[in-house]
């Protein structure tokens, strides 16, 4: 794939505090259109907080989030969705009592997708939800709920898609299958940020990773290189392994 050179998202010196705790402490990075960027780091390093700030769930306490040259820090989530930002959740959050089809209908109706809106039937088919389309989302298994979460996001035609541990809990066959879909989305121009603990999956799909620790970036580059950097090894495995 060939990401074009214009960064769609620029995050600079981002700060998010919860009481005295700095969940994000000066995080800076950028993503290009068509690129798949991995955010990795130990638990509590600020990956999900970063996604929550970029997707408008939290307002930042400092720094800037710039989408297509416009500052979006603190803008309400639904407005960001209309500007082409969307995400999935670590624990999928479908509308449980609504049917799968109704779940998607809400996003199709309110997402204000730019250009031709995606088609319900195609989305259902691509993400293997056709057979359960008229069942309440509560009846789906975890993997299906994750796919529904993803389809809800895709129905709004995002240009920047944030995937929070989409792969966790999927079996190897499903992982290969979803990896193919994510790569295809990037090839069509969508910028994708992937937060993930499964390093094999990250290796398979990302162009570049940011390794985070304590709310900051400690490494940027290829995952294959990251695993040989002492500082990265230290935060993942503890100090004595770094030598």
């Amino acid at each position: 794939m060939s990401p074009d050179s214009a960064p769609i998202l620029n995050v600079s010196k981002l700060v998010k505090r919860f009481g005295g705790f700095h969940a994000l402490d000066g995080l800076s990075f950028h993503v290009l259109s068509g690129e798949i960027l991995g955010l990795v780091g130990p638990n509590g390093s600020g990956k999900t907080t970063a996604i929550n700030v970029i997707s408008g769930l939290y307002a930042p306490d400092g720094g800037e989030v710039v989408l297509d040259g416009v500052s979006i820090g603190g803008v309400a989530s639904h407005k960001l969705v209309h500007r082409g930002v969307n995400r999935t959740f670590q624990v999928p959050k479908p509308f449980l009592s609504l049917t799968v089809r109704q779940n998607i209908e809400v996003a199709l109706a309110y997402g204000r997708a730019v250009g031709t809106p995606p088609e319900m039937a195609a989305l259902l088919e691509q993400y293997r939800l056709t057979e359960v389309a008229d069942r309440p989302a509560a009846d789906l298994n975890n993997a299906q709920q994750k796919m529904l979460d993803l389809v809800r996001a895709l129905a709004t035609r995002p240009r920047l898609l944030l995937l929070d541990e989409l792969a966790a809990g999927l079996n190897p066959t499903e992982l290969d299958w979803i990896a193919g879909h994510i790569k295809a989305l990037a090839q069509s121009g969508t910028a994708i940020i992937v937060v993930e603990h499964l390093m094999g999956f990250i290796e398979q799909i990302t162009d570049r990773v940011i390794v985070m620790n304590a709310g900051k970036e400690i490494f940027e580059g290829k995952l294959a290189v990251a695993v040989r950097v002492p500082q990265v090894i230290e935060v993942f495995l503890g100090g004595e392994h770094a030598a």
């Binding site: 989530s77 639904h78 509308f95 609504l98 109706a109 309110y110 997402g111 809800r152």
Partner: protein, 306 residues
Amino acid sequence: MPSSFKHTLFIVLLLLAVFAVLPGVYQNHLLLFNFVIFLILAQGVNIIYGFTGYLPFGYVGFFGAGAYGFAIMVMHFQAPAALAVIVGGLVGVALGLLLTPLLRLSGAYFAIANLAASLAVLHFVANPALENITRGPYGVSLTGTFNPTLAYAAALVVLALTLGAVVYLKNSRFGLALQAVREDAVSASMAGVDVVRMRVIAWLASALVAGLAGGVYAWYLSVFYPDNVFSGDFSIFAIVFALFGGVATICGPIVGVIILYGIYNLIGFTTPQYFQLIYGLLIMGLVLFLPAGLVSLATRRGWHVP
């Protein structure tokens, strides 16, 4: 027109027709009027609770405010009754606007804050210092507008409008988005839904419904005290009736009112000494065995309930 929509329309029109004809064949008009009032209030609760998940324990606040809006228009401005009813509805909306900050709360906190707000409105209206405006605790007596027949007809019109609103919610993308907000506000915002706006619209719509109902109630009674129109029983009954039948449907609250308010009056006439016992057992049984209301008996079998 889809068949489910036809069924809905049939049920709604049948209900309105029955209540339009009944005063001609049944003498207890006050009872029929109260039925209509509770049909309206239960649907009002349905709008805010069934479609957004906010349980309005102080729902009567809007009802009482509407009744006093009506009374003040008639007493001080000699307004015609129909206009005063509309103002009653608008007073409900104004109170709803004033209380929109409550929507930041959720669950029991919202319910308690709403209850407190309705009590605050009661004590505001009943304040002897406002005697010149509201007649304070001494109650209002409206001469000149008293016309139970017209008031009953107006109540039917309000019921028709309310049912129309619920039919719209049940069959529109707007209603679907409201239900999405109820299920998960964060996910709804990520579907592009303006959560705050949706909640405020539903809240004001249900306030309007209760305000209009309060207006026609004041018209029908013509003589009442603050404690009558701000009685917590209105909130509790409307909520229990709606829940008993099943919220987020059109039929649920209707069924709830017909059965529960019917039994309420039946016991009240025949064996009032057992009233609390029977009623309490009925509600406990419902909460334990049919938390989603009577209509869930049908939906569990896969039947579609409008």
